[in-house]
Amino acid sequence: MARDRWLPPIRCMHEWPLVLFTALTVPAAGMYAVTLLAEAAPLPFGTPAYLRGLAAALLVGGLAFSFLHLGRPRRAALALRRAGRNPLSTEVVFAAALCVVALALVVPSDWQAAVIALRRLAGACGAALLVTFGGVYFLRAHWPWRTTLVAGPLVSGLAAGSILLAAAPANGALQPLALGLLGLDAVVCLASWRRRRPPGALPAHPAIDEYRRRLLFLRLLFANLLPAALLLAGFRPSAAIAVGMGVLLDRFSFYGLAFVQTTEANVAEVERMIAGR
């Protein structure tokens, strides 16, 4: 297909609600997960009201978008049937739990012990959700997905969440942690996407796959390089905006540049072998 546009077409993707769902929930879940890391370090930090409100809004919005992917959204509650035994069911439970806890944290309270307990619960749910995001795609029978890609949601969530937290004025001590997580995220991204095409697999979206290099460059730029530079320069809110765009590009790339294993792809692989002889 001729490339006559600067950006790839997104209408061909049925996964775009999932892109928005994960792009909104990953930073919010990561932010709460990073609070656990910061407590364990220990590093001084705070979660001001506007950050808690932002996280809650991102989670509610993300969950709302997730319904748009379902063919029968009114039956969505059925997805809870296999919680604990099915990664997608488990993901739904953690996403819903994190949303509820995040909304509870928005309510002003003087009871510090309860606030701290809720924040730790949100951290645990956030970390579990990020791990489950990867687990959903670690498909036993579908080997193109069995790569470091599955670690992407966790590391990108932690990186984005740490930038969100570090953007708050009183959280300057989190800057080294944020930079470290950005570096780890960049390494995982490069390790995941260095393979051009696994044999026996085809691009899930060939039209988007044509923009592979450009998308990955933009993803690294907005998710890693730009936030790091802005953070070091002291432009912390701008770093948060940049990493938000980076997460969106990362999630779009995750689905848009995926490979799928099908019988057609296997036959195409053999055809290439035949033609090459």
């Binding site: 059925l78 049937r81 029978a141 055809e271 035949i274």
Partner: protein, 194 residues
């Protein structure tokens, strides 16, 4: 597999790629909005001398360990004692996770009804003692069910990956007249995939 009837045997020597099985499936189930559950995929249709030519008639393979059943969050897939993997539409939320999990492209999303669909091995015909529509329609008897066919057929041929994770219940008889050395060479190439 002695009690299992769900599974197809495809004789690659007899299959002419006529697509009668595809048409029969579509007519039997009225698949206007979702497309065919069965596909016929040619391999080396251009008759390049370096490789064999045959047609792979594939649908749902009713695996012994179905990836769709494991991946479904709502238990919309059930496997009967005879091995047929049935999709319960009333439990389906249309999340398309099974479409991602299946390495054979069997589950298909019905845009009009918002649920997944797939080959059900014509359970109504099976329960009334008939063969699946695709098997009944095949003019050369290239497509048969596992219960009908002779044992000892090859499971894995070039162009068809057999992921041990789900153990597809499909067997292929290799095309006759193909020199064993050439087929083995291609099998060796296919086996080198990670």
């Amino acid at each position: 597999m002695s009690d299992r009837i769900a599974g197809f045997v495809v004789d690659l020597h007899r299959c002419t790629g006529c697509n009668a099985c595809v048409l029969a499936c579509r007519l039997e189930h009225g698949l206007a909005s979702v497309g065919a559950w069965r596909r016929v995929i040619p391999l080396n249709d251009a008759r390049h001398p370096a490789g064999p030519t045959y047609f792979l008639s594939v649908a749902c393979h009713h695996c012994e360990r179905p990836a769709c059943e494991r991946s479904c969050p709502t238990r919309a897939y059930e496997q009967r004692p005879d091995g047929i993997v049935v999709h319960r539409e009333e439990r389906c939320i249309g999340c398309r996770y099974c479409e991602m999990a299946c390495p054979f492209g069997a589950p298909r999303f019905d845009d009009y009804r918002g649920v997944m669909t797939k080959c059900q091995f014509c359970v109504e015909r099976i329960d009334s003692g008939e063969a699946p529509a695709c098997v009944a329609a095949c003019p050369t008897s290239a497509l048969r069910t596992i219960g009908d066919a002779a044992a000892g057929d090859l499971a894995v041929i070039p162009g068809f990956a057999d992921p041990a994770a789900c153990k597809p219940a499909v067997r292929f008889k290799p095309p006759r007249g193909i020199r064993g050395a050439r087929l083995a060479e291609f099998l060796g190439s296919a086996a080198k995939r990670p």
